[in-house]
């Protein structure tokens, strides 16, 4: 029996040395490491209202975060709060019954003038809202004002022809016209989706619901334009892993990205509205309606956590208040759409005004709209083209994407 005792002792010792238990009040999981200070500030403000402490735990990169959350949810072990995506990603999540219906909170927020009905739709599935907005961003083209000046471009382009002409001028002035990053496991979709929606917004929507193939005319045209732009040397080296490096160091003159990125340009020493400004990406031809991608990232609240502690509803309410929004904006210059909150910087305000004036068609980002099981595989094929922008690779990538896409929708 002394044997058994020894083994037990060994086991106990192991348990005790593990003793630094990681018991915490409540957890918010996120893959947005760079936003951690902002989210923490927002949750501190909100948590105090409900008397709980919320700790932000980051898991990066994005694909690992998705894996972690998928197994957490499958294992019925979801945290109280977590960042998610809207669109198809949110519908999938709602089907699990994990997220709480936040209708009451949204009703109060809208009554209070914090948000609009349209914003509620951004995080709704079948008419019910399931998230608090963390980020509402317009996708625009950032441009380096010094580069435009040096290349003799007086006003930002309003048509595709002007954009291409400006790109030639920038090239002649020694700049690479566009920053074309491939990092993070998702960035290759940026130009792919832009060129599809710029040519045919309906086809873009059809790509994400299985009605339009990835080797059809809309995609073929996108790859053709993309390849021509690469051939003319319009894009930066795809091997760079720091996505904003070429824009910040002045190599690239333009960067198509969500305006949540303006904070990190500012962090790197570029002043919003002065060193860089923005314009709306024109469509490929004047007879195609201009579109803008609106990205909305929700924070989802677990139904189980809300049921266990009804006080949490207060925290959720204050997450939607103007103070939480300002805490976020001040800390990391990310705007969560609160109508009473000030835009965190001049660029974000300018983008709001531009969109209000031009009234482009608002589209859900490809990443949120596409089924997440095939997201990564499709991005890989787009990335392969960026490293080898030839017609042969384009054909190869289209074939690969369509095989994966068709298989997915057939198995539905």
């Amino acid at each position: 029996m002394s044997l058994l005792r020894t083994f037990t002792a060994a086991g106990l010792a192991a348990v005790l040395s593990a003793g630094t238990a990681y018991a915490q009040d409540l957890i918010l999981n996120s893959d947005k490491t760079e936003w951690n200070p902002g989210i923490t500030a927002m949750m501190d403000a909100a948590g105090t209202a409900a008397g709980v402490k919320v700790t932000v735990q980051d898991i990066t990169p994005t694909d690992k975060y998705q894996a972690y959350m998928q197994t957490s949810i499958a294992g019925n072990n979801a945290p109280a709060f977590f960042t998610w995506w809207n669109g198809q990603q949110l519908s999938d999540l709602v089907a699990t019954g994990i997220p709480a219906d936040l209708s009451a909170n949204w009703d109060a927020a809208i009554a209070n003038g914090d948000y609009s009905e349209a914003q509620r739709e951004l995080v709704s599935v079948d008419g019910k809202p399931y998230g608090v907005l963390l980020n509402v961003a317009n996708w625009v083209v950032f441009y380096n004002t010094a580069a435009f000046e040096k290349a003799g471009i007086a006003a930002p382009p309003t048509t595709w022809e002007e954009l291409m002409a400006d790109a030639d001028k920038l090239k002649a002035a020694g700049y690479t016209p566009f920053n074309g990053p491939t990092s993070g496991g998702w960035m290759p979709f940026i130009w792919f989706s832009q060129l599809v929606l710029g040519g045919d917004p309906d086809a873009f929507v059809g790509l994400t619901d299985g009605t339009v193939p990835y080797d059809g005319p809309a995609v073929q045209n996108a790859f053709k334009v993309w390849g021509e732009m690469y051939a003319k040397g319009y894009f930066t080296d795809p091997r760079e892993q720091d996505d904003q490096k070429f824009f910040v160091d002045g190599t690239a003159a333009m960067y198509l990205i969500g305006d949540w990125h303006s904070g990190s340009f500012a962090e790197a020493g570029m002043e919003p509205g002065k060193d860089f400004k923005t314009f709306l990406m024109p469509s490929l031809s004047p007879d195609v309606q201009q579109s803008v991608i609106v990205e909305a990232s929700p924070i989802v609240v677990s139904k189980a956590a809300l049921d266990a502690n009804p006080e949490l509803a207060k925290a959720v309410q204050s997450m939607m208040g103007v103070d939480a929004s300002n805490a976020l904006g001040t800390k990391i210059q990310v705007y969560n759409g609160n109508l009473k909150a000030a835009a965190p910087n001049a660029t974000i305000q300018a983008n709001k005004d531009m969109v209000a004036a031009a009234k482009p068609r608002a589209l859900v980002r490809w990443w949120e709209a596409v089924p997440s099981q095939i997201q990564g595989d499709l991005v890989a094929a787009m990335g392969a083209f960026m490293f080898n922008p030839t017609p042969e690779q384009a054909a190869e990538s289209m074939k690969t994407m369509q095989t994966i896409n068709a298989d997915y929708w057939a198995s539905k």
Binding site: A10, A14, A18, Y22, T60, T71, G75, S183
Partner: protein, 295 residues
């Protein structure tokens, strides 16, 4: 040609001739080996010049150029240590490796004792059961382990991670120890038993001391295996408080890609220190351990 192999003079002449040709051959061979060695050591040379460079210096200079001064090392270490929480990760990995290797080798030794020194019904069957654990690629464990761990609340816990390491590290030591224990003569424990020693006593004071060599070698191998693990920790415990040093190292290269290579390279060096030290201190056992793997 008839050779008289009992002729001493003939034999010694042959040996001298052999040695001459060897030495000549040897001199010729040194050059290509030297060239190969230099190419072989270049990455290590790169490692040692890079840890003394600042990020700006790295960007400006040729990658193989010597650094301006030795001072930047301290800053690189501090950056590597703090940015990816490398300190915490090193502590985690050290405790996983130490506790995991001790427990797994102990469990394997106990099992080997039970199988070789005691009357055990179906001893071979038990052995085959555990040995099966060496056959499957790790990829077959991952999804079920992650799912089961989520259910049990063991994901992202120190204890849960340890359990997997211990289990993974049992089958191989058992295979080796079963052989070493069998080769210890039976009289040793028979005598002790007649004197009334308990099995536990026989095991700890007769068998274990007689197999110290393989036990230390196995401990080293398993310690190194756990310390080096990236795969299991990246899936089962990648939270910042419990993740292993290899996951931290990898995140340094992935997430914080804006960091200069000088910091990442410094982190690779830090992450190798314990295993390198163990190797130097216990080289004899390490080499013996390698041969264990081949029998």
């Amino acid at each position: 040609m008839a050779v008289d192999i009992t002729d001493k003079a003939f034999i010694s002449g042959l040996i001298a001739k052999e040695k001459r040709t060897q030495r000549q051959g040897g001199r010729w061979l040194v050059l290509p080996i030297l060239a190969l060695t230099i190419a072989y050591l270049t990455p290590l040379y790169y490692l040692f010049v890079t840890i003394f460079k600042t990020s700006e210096e790295y960007a400006k200079k040729g990658v193989l150029e010597l650094p301006d001064s030795l001072a930047p090392l301290a800053d690189n270490v501090v950056q590597a240590w703090t940015i990816a929480n490398l300190g915490q990760a090193a502590m985690n990995s050290f405790s996983y490796a130490l506790v995991g290797a001790v427990l797994s080798v102990s469990f394997a030794a106990a099992a080997a004792y039970g199988m070789t020194r005691l009357h055990l019904l179906g001893s071979n069957g038990w052995f085959m059961l555990i040995f099966t654990g060496t056959l499957f690629p790790f990829q077959m464990y991952l999804v079920p382990l992650l799912f089961g761990y989520q259910r049990l609340g063991l994901v992202n816990t120190w204890f849960g991670m340890l359990l997997v390491y211990v289990a993974i590290c049992i089958p191989f030591p058992l295979l080796v120890l079963r052989n070493s224990f069998s080769s210890i003569t039976r009289e040793v424990d028979e005598a002790a038993r007649i004197e009334g020693a308990s099995e536990w006593r026989v095991f700890t004071s007769m068998i274990v001391p007689n197999a110290m060599g393989p036990l230390i070698a196995l401990f080293l191998l398993q310690f190194t295996f756990i310390w080096n693990d990236l795969l299991f920790s990246s899936i089962l415990a990648n939270g910042i408080e419990v993740r292993s040093i290899m996951v931290a190292l990898q995140s340094l290269q992935g997430t914080y890609s804006t960091l200069g290579p000088n910091v990442v390279i410094t982190a690779t060096l830090i992450s190798s220190i314990p295993t390198v030290l163990l190797f130097i201190a216990l080289r004899k056992y390490f080499m013996a351990g390698l041969q264990l793997g081949t029998k």
